[in-house]
Symmetry: D2
Subunit: 135 residues, 4 copies
Amino acid sequence: MGKRYETDVRVRFSDLDALGHVNNARVLTLLEEARVDWLWADAVQNGLEGLVNAIVVARQEIDYLRPILFGNPVQVDIGVTRIGGASFTVDYELHTEGELAVRAVSVLVPINLEVGRPRRLTDVERAYLAQFVAG
Amino acid sequence: MGKRYETDVRVRFSDLDALGHVNNARVLTLLEEARVDWLWADAVQNGLEGLVNAIVVARQEIDYLRPILFGNPVQVDIGVTRIGGASFTVDYELHTEGELAVRAVSVLVPINLEVGRPRRLTDVERAYLAQFVAG
Amino acid sequence: MGKRYETDVRVRFSDLDALGHVNNARVLTLLEEARVDWLWADAVQNGLEGLVNAIVVARQEIDYLRPILFGNPVQVDIGVTRIGGASFTVDYELHTEGELAVRAVSVLVPINLEVGRPRRLTDVERAYLAQFVAG
Amino acid sequence: MGKRYETDVRVRFSDLDALGHVNNARVLTLLEEARVDWLWADAVQNGLEGLVNAIVVARQEIDYLRPILFGNPVQVDIGVTRIGGASFTVDYELHTEGELAVRAVSVLVPINLEVGRPRRLTDVERAYLAQFVAG
């Protein structure tokens, strides 16, 4: 049974655009905050500094289901949908005021910072990520 | 034969994140700038104020093919891939230093601002958008 | 004796620029978050919706004393240093990891949204703000 | 007679906040763009890479004289008001639609990146900056 990482993300006044709701690009920043929180607060405590120091985003898909307004924090939960040799895929659900507002997917690629190139996932990383795979 | 709207977008120093390249969320801002430029500079001159005043993004897909660094402006070109009753889909290609760096798609929904709800595309809007459909 | 409003503000990964610390412009966003939190969480509960709905910034001064890195939330405390007829001045101190990192001042002007022009502070607003004046 | 560096900066839709004008923090980003453009396009061509690679902002003052709306680019001009041993001060004027909208000042400190500490201005840098001092 896959668990999901859950965290609150605070919406800033400056996340709103002139239409009065969180800008479409800024929604990715909210998801990034949740992902960084996951990898810093949780993965690092499990000895996975490598996942934090250098990950790049290879692909994203976002469905905007309802507008996000200023006010209470939003809730984001994250799971893992695929673990490849040199990349993995996470999915997100973002709720605001109890309603699902965003569904998204990111393909993430760990980087070897010394050579500036993608690297393979280690066994420890794969085991950590595997906990978050639904099944 | 579909034409594509082409425009340059300047990368700001503040678009970079701590990894030294344009942040993944900020890439959507560069695409938004190109789209807004298209709709303001071109569509409005063709009498389509309605497309500018209120459009929301329903879905996006982005493939990040190579990092975007600070320096020269990037080139973005935009076409239309689908014209529906109450939405349309555009695709983007972003080049930096002569190389394709991003490929993306947005599903856009025009809004009736008075009632705050999606509305149907008008015939004039459909005809305008049709010029940008490849074929 | 003036009290100060104290709140934590979370630093986002995307607040960092290519130098690896919070960008100078983004520091104003952290202060804005604290100010908005003050006016929403505290002033509104005291019946001062007018202060929240429309305030514009007329002037700011910021001293950047040390860099703000990614990690723990920063602490911001806010006081009032001047209450004028149609504006007031607040000062901020931002601490990170126990050290003072930013000292700043903002001159704020309440706006009458219906006519889009500055308005005078009401007696209730002046009484609320007076609690935060050191003396 | 001091010259001033003049450049246009494009306002992005995403620079607007929910009040429909450029956010107060984002105004600093517009000034940063002008400053970076000055140092990259002009100073570097005069052999002053050091000024570009690492400068931090020690203090800023900003007067917001009128709102900046979305539309045409703004014009920013920059001069130098003080050249110290290990810092210098620049002033900015930002015009929108022919009207002065922002007046600001930044104290800038060059950094020795290898040791991560402020360094003294070189003679070549001082001579370059001196051209921009009014007198």
